[in-house]
Amino acid sequence: MRTSSPASPSLAVRPYAPARRRGVWLRKAARYVIAYALIVPGALIFLFPLLWMVSTALKEPNQIFVYPPQWIPNPPRWANFIEGWTKYLPFDIFLRNTLIITANNVIGNLVSCSLAAYGFARLRSRARDFLFILVLATMMVPNEVTMVPTYILFTHLGWVNTFLPLMVPAWFGWPFFIFLLRQFFMTIPYELDDAARIDGCSTWGILWRIILPLSKPALAAVAVFAFIGNWNNFLGPLIYLRDKEKLTLAVGLNQFRGQFGYVDFHLLMAVSLLVLLPILVVFYVAQRFFIQGIVLTGIKG
């Protein structure tokens, strides 16, 4: 469906006859109704887990498994949030650690993946196709079998129990993002490159001045994914971080699980909600970049 673009001259205000105006309003209303009719049921289903989390987060432990389930706990136990966050584990420290790693990785990924994607999208080389398949190939190996050799590698480097295994690789690209950005870069017409070169722009200048600005939606998507992926990343910190002060939110959350099925659900859900909030905020705010970015092709008609 088309994106409405206020800057486009063709949609400038035109005089409508009053009868037409009513017709336009009806069509618009119909469109709204159809849109909502399609969107809302899915949204309700997608909201369900969140609602369940909120409900459980406010319950007394022995109310969690009552059947039929009580959706609204009575009385609600707000203390779960405080107890979960402060009483047993230093979640504020976990928060700090997670922020450091995530910020680093978002920036690192943006830089390294843009560069690599630019190479694969725009620059020519005999080795290009083979190397690109290699990039993709690394996504095709289940990480269960590379986990242990990687761990041994990092042990030999002496990086275990530090943030390094979690932060350094981000500066060396990640196949998923490289592929994504490559696809986006390849939708940008060459004419723009040519125009820039004629103006004396270097290869890197083209990347910086033409490709990247036009790829804001894709870069925003990468940034959001990188943020969320790192915020929730569990396996890496689990394996590589041993000291409690170094743990991240995702690993800390996990420690509400005990042995043999014992799980402090009420605390787990409460803190999970707290950990989820920044993601939702980031996503909601970032939408502006990958939804409403207006792409000016710079070429008229």
Binding site: Y67, Y151, R242, D243, Q255, R257, G258, V263
Partner: protein, 472 residues
Amino acid sequence: MYYALSRRRLIGLSVATAGGLLLASCAPAAAPTPTPAPAKPAEAPKPAAQPKAAPTPTPAAQPAAKTEGQVVELQMAFTWEAAFQPVQEEFNKKFMERHPNIRIKSTYNTWADHNRIVPTWAAAKTLPDVIYVHGAYIQPWIKLGAFRSLEPYLKQDREFDFPNDFWPEPLKLYRYKGEHYAIPYDHGPLILGYNKKIFDEAKVPYPKENMTFEELLDLARRLTKPGQQWGFQGLPISPNVFLITWTGGWGGEVIKVENDVEVGTLINDPRNIEALEWWAAMLHKHKVAPSPAEMQAIQGGPWLAGRVAMATTASWNTPTYNKFGAFGKGNWDVAPWPKGPARQITGSFGSGFGITRDSKYPDAAWTYLREYLSKEGQEFMWGRTGRGSVSRKSAYQSWMDSPEAPPSVKYFKEAMEKYAVIGRPISAVANRVIDIINREIDQVMNGQKSAKDAVAEIQRQADPILAENLKE
């Protein structure tokens, strides 16, 4: 693996898992004695004598066993959840006060992650000094060399009072080729739990001692209201595999053991078939147990929701029942596991701690372990907190006195003394065998396969795998 399965299911199926888990964990596996004869395992669980007040000296009086003069740092890996970590930290703190030259660094992982991480650490040769080990993984890890033999310490440490003060049956888990490589900290049987409120409402007398399975069925029928309330929860549906709890009563065995080595299955036996059919009938014919769909529909399982009269119950379920049971603490109790036509038998399982191969300071690690698993240590960590049915007979009373213990907690002890056996299979290939057994028995309980076909299939698939234990 038993716990592993139950934990994973709980994560995903909080609905059925907690219920099924509780049930599952109850089933003991085959009798440990190599004789296939369905004799009561008289020699195993009966302790030689009642635990005397073994005079374990206070840790303070103990000279530090051979630790070097320098400051030594021990790494430890536990699986305690956040709420229990403070107890561990407190023990460590007091230990460090007693032994200023030993520093302790603890890592906490969830149970499932721990089992994945330990091999990884082992591969990089960076195992911590002391680690927790679950019964389902102890034999593979020992066989592959992750642990040090503790015999040198056990032989000369008289005060540790090993093995006399320990329940004898559990020790089989930690023994390999005659040597002990880890020491249990908790070990418990599967018996019967019941919801007092339901019995009171229906004015039905509580389950009593010396009950048979038929009497269990009778009670269950009286307490079942279709769609609302069920008489019994705890069929042998995965993640459980202590099959012996369900089949042993009819006299059959599950695993064939020769010289302490598991070499094959004994499951293809008419007695086992009869037992499995009896249990399946509980669901399909008598309808006193919730169906898999009903188990799944109720989050945590109908038992925790307070809708089931009786359920298989393990000693390690007590904190969960007290905290999360909708029936509320004090409204549930335990009774002995019923007798089958041939005998009374149930399975048991547990976990322990050991010193790893990569430890640079095994002597210091032993200094820690000997206090951690001493009578005082066990009382402090798991007895008074009610966390575990401890492995020392002398410390057992503290668990029985703990606030988590149900009123008739003595039945756990009775089981440990009289009729609980180790929940087999436990050997290095056990996890593969367990998955096979799970798949087949589940289908029997779901009515998708006959017991006869299932046990034949288990035998066909599992025998070659268990035979690998013979190859060294």
